[in-house]
Amino acid sequence: MKLTKILTGATLALGLATTAMAQDKTKVGFVYVGPVGDGGWTYEHNKGRLAVEEAFGDKVETTFVENVPEGADAERVITQMALQGADLIFTTSFGYMDPTINVAAKFPDVKFEHATGYKQADNVSIYSARFYEGRAVQGHIAGQMTKTNTIGYIASFPIPEVIRGINSAYIHAKEVNPDVEFKIIWAYTWFDPAKEADAATALIEQGADVILQHTDSTAPQAAAQTAGNVVTFGQASDMSEYAPFPRVSSIIDDWAPYYIARTQAVMDGTWESVSTWDGIGAGMVGIGEFSDAIPADVAASAMALKESLADGSYHAFTGPLNKQDGSAWLAEGETAADYGDGGLAGMNFYLEGIEGSIPQ
């Protein structure tokens, strides 16, 4: 009897803890999967956090915990933030999905924002970026800059986001260069500089003269620089230290506008649970400055492509497109749906023309 009483007491206390907090500053918490010094994924989320601090000054207080493993520890760290009186908590990795939902159920008054996941709740929004739009621009440039017609692609894990990127880059490279061929390496890591360097070297040795990467370190850039005549694109952050060559452009994760808007919404009391999937248009996906190494006409058409993606007049996946096995995916003029069967959110197939198979 006594035990159940204590247990119920603890449950109640969890729920009540936050309501008692005094509200002067808006407290925003961030949970990071890597160190803020990773120069890639976490680094960019942290830049978003700093932008929130800058935008609101004294009215906001931000906290973060870095290097949080995507398992049992995540739930405790998120709970800790909620207990400490956070009003809004951003959990910035896919693996935080279930922990975020669990904690959110216990703290109905705290707002949660989970990056790249698919589970929403009354007080949990989800947000992600349409990186594949940036990949379209990359593919467009890469297809015209390759002389060997071989583009190397360092992929991380076989998940829909990465597969979308490969497909998008491929069809836009193919569009401008019918002879283009993709060589894909699955590195099974988001971040392992030594392995990424080896992967880039292997691709270059097999004739690739453009390297696209979906891993976060600058190691492939350095490998390309050593090789001399290989084009690269920055990933996650601008990687401008390798501009103007080999890095000719980049995809930048820019979370700042979203983080500022959501913090503002909490302050105004207008926060609602939403599912956001923004691209170039909303500024969540930034395209790094084109360097002079890109021929002027290529830069101009790439810019036009970027504009049409931004204003919504063009969708990166517009039919006719077939799957790798030749079966139809999108009919002439049809654009890909976000969700549902064959939707982008769960994309698990290559498009026609890409060789090899997605590892299972």
Binding site: I6, L7, A10, T11, A13, L14, A17, G29, P35, V36, T63, F64, V65, E66, N67, V68, P69, E70, G71, A72, D73, E75, R76, V77, T79, Q80, M81, L83, Q84, F94, G95, D98, P99, K106, Y118, F157, P158, I159, P160, I163, Y188, A345, G346, M347, N348, P359, Q360
Partner: protein
């Protein structure tokens, strides 16, 4: 001159006192480190050591300390048996992973059936998985005389790769939108290890304390415990006394493997929820340190595990509230271990100040 002398008998009081001294020295050295980083040292130390246990939200952190400590206790208890006998299993991390995989696989196989028999079955499967992984170095040692330290360490990496393979393939959640990772088994009552999630109580904690009691009885009230001690301290004498080294190796590695495997299951079916890449966060290695800090004694292990759990949880708290980088917490933990290990010396040796003599 100053020199070390071996004590005729290991000190009985010092093992109780040295950890306290080590913690105090770490607080001073760590405080200096935090001060260098521009943080208030007193506040930082208080946040790490005091707030989780006695602070405003202690009602939440106290059970969390047990959640964090339970796998460490369970694994370290198993390891301590072998360590006492001079059998060095340092691959508990691999056994932990294998137990989690086999246990979770059983749970997933029954999805979405609901029955109270599923969870016990998962525990058994996990124990077998961990046991089998521990038996590989044991068998190779018995049969070929290979070094169990090295074989068990190698098997950690094999297990890690198996884990990735499972998360991406066989055990992948068919409704997971293509993302790696299994279904969440913690949210389903028949496969969950939670007894009461809100209170932070799961079966792993219960089993950890059962293991402590059993280990205590085994070591101090049972002939097998005596044989284990004897083999570690005087292998030759043990052989004359009729201790069968082969059986001892199989027993110690088997038990520590099974316990580590069970720890893996309680974690995956509770706090972690899913089989996924990077599910293991180093409990198997930390438990080795815990076993030594606890002087290979069941009660000492509980205390050492709680201390480690405290630095983890307090460290996260200090990150969140004071903005200390996680690297500073790691360094702090490293210092704590160094001081604890260094002061161990005083248990078996004493510092003698001798008059200077000509030799």
């Amino acid at each position: 001159m100053i020199r070390l002398e071996k004590r005729p008998m290991p000190s009985r009081t010092l093992p109780m006192i040295t950890p306290v001294i080590a913690v105090i020295i770490t607080m001073i050295a760590g405080g200096a480190l935090f001060a260098v980083l521009g943080k208030d040292p007193i506040e930082a130390i208080r946040t790490i050591f005091w707030d989780p246990v006695f602070g405003e939200f202690a009602f939440y952190y106290r059970p969390q300390l047990l959640v964090k400590a339970a796998p460490l206790i369970l694994i370290a208890i198993g390891l301590s048996l072998g360590f006492r006998a001079g059998i060095w299993n340092i691959g508990a991390e691999g056994q932990y992973i294998m137990g989690a995989i086999t246990g979770a696989a059983v749970g997933l196989a029954f999805y979405p059936t609901e029955s109270i028999f599923i969870f016990p079955l998962m525990v058994v499967a996990a124990a077998i998985g961990g046991w089998a992984w521990g038996m590989i170095p044991a068998f190779l040692k018995v049969r070929f005389g290979t070094n169990e330290i090295l074989v068990s360490l190698m098997l950690v990496y094999v297990a890690q790769n198996l884990l990735s393979s499972m998360a991406l393939g066989l055990l992948k959640n068919p409704e997971g939108m293509g993302f790696p990772g299994s279904r969440n088994i913690a949210t389903n009552a028949s496969t969950s290890s939670w007894i009461n999630e809100a209170a932070g109580l799961h079966w792993g904690i219960v089993f950890a304390f059962i293991a402590v009691i059993f280990a205590y009885i085994l070591l101090y009230r049972h002939i097998l415990g005596f044989n284990i001690q004897l083999s570690g301290e005087a292998p030759r004498a043990a052989r004359f006394a009729g201790v069968n080294p082969t059986r001892l190796i199989l027993f110690c590695l088997g038990v520590s493997g099974a316990l580590a495997g069970m720890a893996g299951l309680f974690e995956v079916a509770g706090p972690a929820g899913q089989i996924k890449i990077g599910f293991n966060v180093g409990y198997g290695f930390t438990a080795i340190i815990v076993a030594f800090l606890g002087r290979l004694h069941p009660v000492g292990i509980v205390l050492a595990a709680m201390l480690m759990a405290l630095t983890y949880i307090g460290g996260e708290l200090a990150q969140g509230t004071l903005g200390l980088p996680s690297a500073a917490i790691q360094v702090f933990q490293g210092m704590l271990l160094f001081f604890l290990l260094a002061l161990d010396l005083l248990t078996n040796y004493r510092i003698a100040i001798l008059p200077r003599r000509a030799f």
